[in-house]
Amino acid sequence: MNDAQGQISHPRPEPGDVGLVEPHDYVCRERFEFDSGQHLDEFTLRYETYGRLNAARDNGIMVLHALSGDHHCAGIHTINDRKPGWWDNLIGPGKAVDTTKFFVICSNVLGGCQGSTGPQSLNPATGRPYGVEFPFVTIRDMVRAQKRLCDHLGLTALQGVIGGSMGGMQALQWGIEYPDFVRRVVAMATTARESAQGIAFNEVGRQAIMQDPEWNRGDYGRSGGPRVGLAIARMMAHITYLSDASMDRKFGRRRKSAPLSGSYSFDVQFEVESYLKHQGETFINRFDANSYLYITRAIDHFDLPASYGSLEKAFDAMKAEALVVGFTSDWLFPPQQNREIALALLRSGKRATYAQLNTDLGHDSFLLESPQLYDLIRDFFERDFT
C-alpha cells in the first residue's frame, strides 16, 4: 500500500483513427445447431476487421457488441459519416486496442439485424422473413457462430476478447467455450447471471413491442412493424443505461421552447423528454423489433451458475486471464455483479483482476473516454505480447 513507485511512462505516438472501413459478409454453409435444438442450414455474419493479421495468425482481438450494437465499432464508412463506429475512442492505431499491433474483428451477433442472419432475414423455406419462426438464440450460440468466423479467417488463436454489457457475457462465454483459443478476456459492466431487475426491464421492452398491434405476432414484413412499441422499448431501456447524476447534468429540468398548447399539456416540454423521443425515433430506423425480442431473451437466459452447476464450475475449463471492470454508477449491472465474476474466477484458481472505475455515467460508462480505462485495457492486452 505504501510502496510509492513512480508511474512508468512510455512515450507513445499520438493515437490515430482507423479511417475508412467496410463491412464484409461471412456466409457459413455448415449446419448450425442452436442451444434450443433448432437449427439453420446456413447463416451470415456481417463483420469488420481493422489492423493486420500477423504471420502466426494469433494477434486477433474480438470485439463483442451489446444489445443494440453492431459490427461497426471503429472508423467510418464514408467521409460524410457524421459519427464513427461505436467504440472508435478505444480502437485504432495507438489507441487502447491498438490496430498497429492487433487484428480487430467485430461481427454483428447471430439473431441481430445489421446484416447478420436474424428474424428479419428471409426464411428459404417460405421466402418470407423468419419473424418469430427464427430459432431462439443464446449468448453461447452467438459465440459459437463467431468462432466459425474466426476459423473462416484462419485464426489460430485470439489474443483477446472484449465486451461490455451483453458483450461482456459473450466475452466470458468465449473463455469458457474455447479455453485453448482465447488468451485474455475483458468483461466490463456485465454479469454472470442476468438479474431479476434486468429481466424485468427486458420484459417491459418486449411487452411494449408485442402489445403494439403492428407487431402482428412478429409477421410485419420488411417495413413498418411495431414502430411505436419499439421506440417505447428503446426509450425505457435508454434510461437504464444512464444515471440520475448524468441525466441531471445533461438535461436537468431544462425546457424546450414552450409548446403551442402551453405548459399545461402533455406535449414535449422538457429536454429529457425530447432526448428520449429522439432516441426512440432513431432506433426504429435501424433496429428490427423481432431482433430486439430475441436478443433480450438471450440476455435473460444468460445464467452461468445454472448452466454449469456453479460459477466456479463454469470457469473450471477456462485458461484465459481475465480482466473484469465494474463502474460505480452502473445500476443495471452493478459493481457487485462484476466483482462476483472475478471472485469466482479466483476461487477456481484462474488469473483474474477486478478493477472498478468511479464514474457517474451509469451503465454506459464502459463506453467512456477514460485514460484510466484505456491504460488498463492496453496493459492487459499488450503485456508480453510482441
Binding site: 500500500m1 505504501n2 510502496d3 513507485q5 508511474q7 512508468i8 486471464e321 480482466l323 466483482r339 472475478a342 471472485l343 479466483l346 476461487r347 484458481g349 488469473r351 483474474a352 483482476t353 477486478y354 478493477a355 472498478q356 472505475l357 468511479n358 484510466q372 491504460d375 488498463l376 496493459d379 492487459f380 503485456r383 508480453d384
Partner: protein, 201 residues
C-alpha cells in the same frame, strides 16, 4: 542502498524464504505489486493482491499480476477456509480499520499469515516523542501529521501481547535493527526497527 529502497525489499527476502514454491499467496494491501511480482518470479507462486486504489490495481495489471480492487474483508469473506497457503499483510497493519478482524479472517482463509510492520516502540521514536513532544519525523515517518493517512502505529510488545491474548501461534519471528537489515537479538521492542511474524492458528 537508501532506506527507502531497503524498505521496499526488506520483507521480500525474508518472505521469499518463508514462501513455498508454487503456493497460493494473497497479499493484503498489495500496492503496485512489487512484493507479489518478486514472489511470482522467484517462487512461481500463484498470487493475488488486494488494494483499494485503482491506480495500484492498474500497476499490478501492468506486471501481469492478478489483483482485486476493493475491501480486503469483503474479499476474504468470498473464500473458503484455508484457500491460500499464505496471506501477507506487509506494512498495511497500521492502516487497517480493524486489525484484529483482518488478522482473524486472514487466519481463516490462509494456512499461515505473514505480518510485517514498523516497530513503533523503536528507541528513536520514543526519544523523538520524548524530546520534541511531537509526531516522530524520520525516514519511516516521512510526513507531518496533517499530511499523513490515518495510522494506528503498533509496537512489537503490542503485537506479541495481541497474539497471546488471541491465542495466535507465532511460528517464526524476525526482528531487524534500525537499518532494517541486521538481525536484532536483544530487547527487540526497544532496538528493532522492523518486525516480521509468521502466524498460524
Amino acid at each position: 542502498m537508501s532506506k527507502l529502497q531497503v524498505k521496499r525489499t526488506v520483507d521480500m527476502q525474508i518472505l521469499g524464504d518463508w514462501v513455498e514454491k508454487s503456493s497460493r499467496v494473497l497479499d493484503l494491501g498489495c500496492g503496485r505489486g512489487v512484493l507479489l511480482d518478486y514472489l511470482v518470479h522467484t517462487k512461481q507462486v500463484f498470487g493475488v493482491g488486494v488494494d483499494m486504489d485503482v491506480a495500484k490495481v492498474a500497476a499490478c495489471v501492468r506486471r501481469g499480476l492478478s489483483a482485486y480492487q476493493g475491501d480486503m474483508m469483503d474479499f476474504m469473506r468470498a473464500f473458503p477456509e484455508g484457500h491460500f497457503d499464505l496471506v501477507v499483510c506487509s506494512r498495511t497493519l497500521e492502516e487497517l480499520q480493524s486489525p484484529s478482524a483482518v488478522i482473524s479472517e486472514a487466519l481463516r482463509v490462509g494456512r499461515s499469515v505473514a505480518v510485517g510492520f514498523v516497530n513503533h516502540g523503536f528507541w528513536k521514536n520514543r526519544l523523538e516523542v520524548f524530546l520534541s513532544g511531537r509526531k516522530p519525523r524520520n525516514d519511516v515517518y516521512t510526513t507531518p501529521w496533517h499530511a499523513s493517512r490515518p495510522a494506528n502505529p503498533v509496537s512489537i510488545a503490542d503485537f506479541e501481547h495481541f497474539c497471546e491474548t488471541e491465542r495466535i501461534r507465532i511460528v517464526r519471528r524476525v526482528h531487524l535493527r534500525g537499518d532494517w537489515r541486521r538481525p536484532c537479538r536483544a530487547l527487540p521492542n526497544l532496538l528493532a526497527g522492523y518486525a516480521l511474524y509468521d502466524l498460524a492458528r
